[in-house]
Symmetry: C2
């Protein structure tokens, strides 16, 4: 059964909505810079890492036990995680991936998220450092899922729509031309319109007297300058490594 | 500074909204009964517990390291968790609690949640067992936070509004009369109206072609028959143990 781009796009819309809901939840806490500052985790004995780094590593260690990273779109932020303790379903037969980590863009997702955060949170500290990083981890995982899911499934569905055209570029390992062939400006505009509509509508449903309302602009810039380009980078990586049918 | 019931209620509204958003996220997966069935976790070597139980225990072990359960409104589902590795802010000076676990109602919250779940999820299985229990844990923690936060802060603010009246009942350890004095039917109706309005408005913002829309009725029944009575039970427990000013 061919992979249909329409179905993939509908799933992407749902993953984007999940990012927005989780980001709104995170922004109910102040920025809390202490949580991102190395050595200020409050751990005793002291740790050199930041509270977010410690939390993300412990979360990913747990998730690795549960087999999360056997799924293509779940790419971890840390390497060297433990082996799974669970047998989970094998890789989606729709995809062709030799080594899942080839498409891992989590490092840049983390950098981009830490850049976004002070633009959308209330400045200052409210003491809720633990809650902040707990929500950060949930946001980061939602963003990574959206980027890596799109990287795999959008690329594969586009490949299937023109196998010969793509295969030629893959054989030549022509990243530049692949990037051009993958780009659909119309679709990128649609992502941004969808995100803006959704974020406004979610916040319209909120009561500003008990929910912090975030600025829409930096979120749109984040999708335009990070999520969309990282997704395209992931698509290129997916295709460059794609074993021949 | 006296604890104002209005501020507490506004915080409750925000915690309820968080429950609804997280529940909607959970319901994007099918019910997935396997995840709640003992021995079907897929762990190798096999575990007798269900996947949810394993996940909840590992999550709470991690959270205990980060000091989550030093906060009054964060009450765990498991006992015997490890000691915190982090120094975190001391107990809120507004509250008077001898032993935090006295107000722990998490066991009944878990039972009630497992009763709600098949009423709001799409029936059957979609194979996403890991994602389902990951979201369950997030939901359970949000529900427990709402119940225990309300139990502590609503009870304390009501006490402060009539210290003599409450102290007399506490001295007599009269749970029945405390329950009567704490009950405000008007406030309970308001919770249900707020939840219904919020849930409808959140789902109105969703696109049914890519988000599963849940039935509002069982959620309202859940708040009416579980969240509100458990909260009141927690308020009674808080007051019965409250050390004299």
């Amino acid at each position: 059964m061919p992979l249909l781009l329409d179905q993939v796009v509908s799933k992407l819309a749902s993953l984007e909505e999940a990012i927005l809901m989780k980001l709104l939840d995170r922004c109910q806490f102040a920025f809390n810079e202490e949580a991102y500052t190395p050595g200020m985790s409050g751990f005793d004995p002291p740790e050199t890492a930041s509270l977010l780094e410690l939390r993300l590593l412990e979360q990913e260690t747990m998730d690795a036990h549960f087999g999360r990273y056997l799924v293509p779109e779940e790419r971890p932020f840390y390497s060297g995680l433990p082996a799974p303790k669970r047998r989970v379903p094998v890789q989606d037969p729709e995809l062709r991936i030799r080594e899942l980590e080839t498409i891992n863009l989590s490092g840049r997702i983390l950098v981009s998220y830490l850049d976004l955060l002070p633009q959308v949170c209330r400045p200052g500290s409210d003491g809720h450092f633990g809650s902040s990083v707990e929500h950060d981890v949930i946001c980061l995982q939602a963003i990574a899922r959206r980027v890596h899911f799109a990287a795999c499934y959008v690329a594969e569905s586009k490949y299937q729509s023109d196998p010969e055209g793509f295969q030629e570029l893959i054989d030549r390992q022509d990243a530049e031309e692949l990037r051009r062939k993958l780009t659909r400006e119309e679709a990128e505009r649609e992502v941004l319109q969808r995100v803006e509509r959704k974020l406004r509508s979610l916040q319209r449903a909120s009561d500003p007297s008990n929910r912090y309302i975030i600025d829409v602009k930096p979120v749109l810039v984040y999708f335009r300058d990070w999520i969309i380009p990282l997704t395209k980078e992931g698509e290129v990586r997916y295709l460059l490594q794609r074993p021949r049918s």
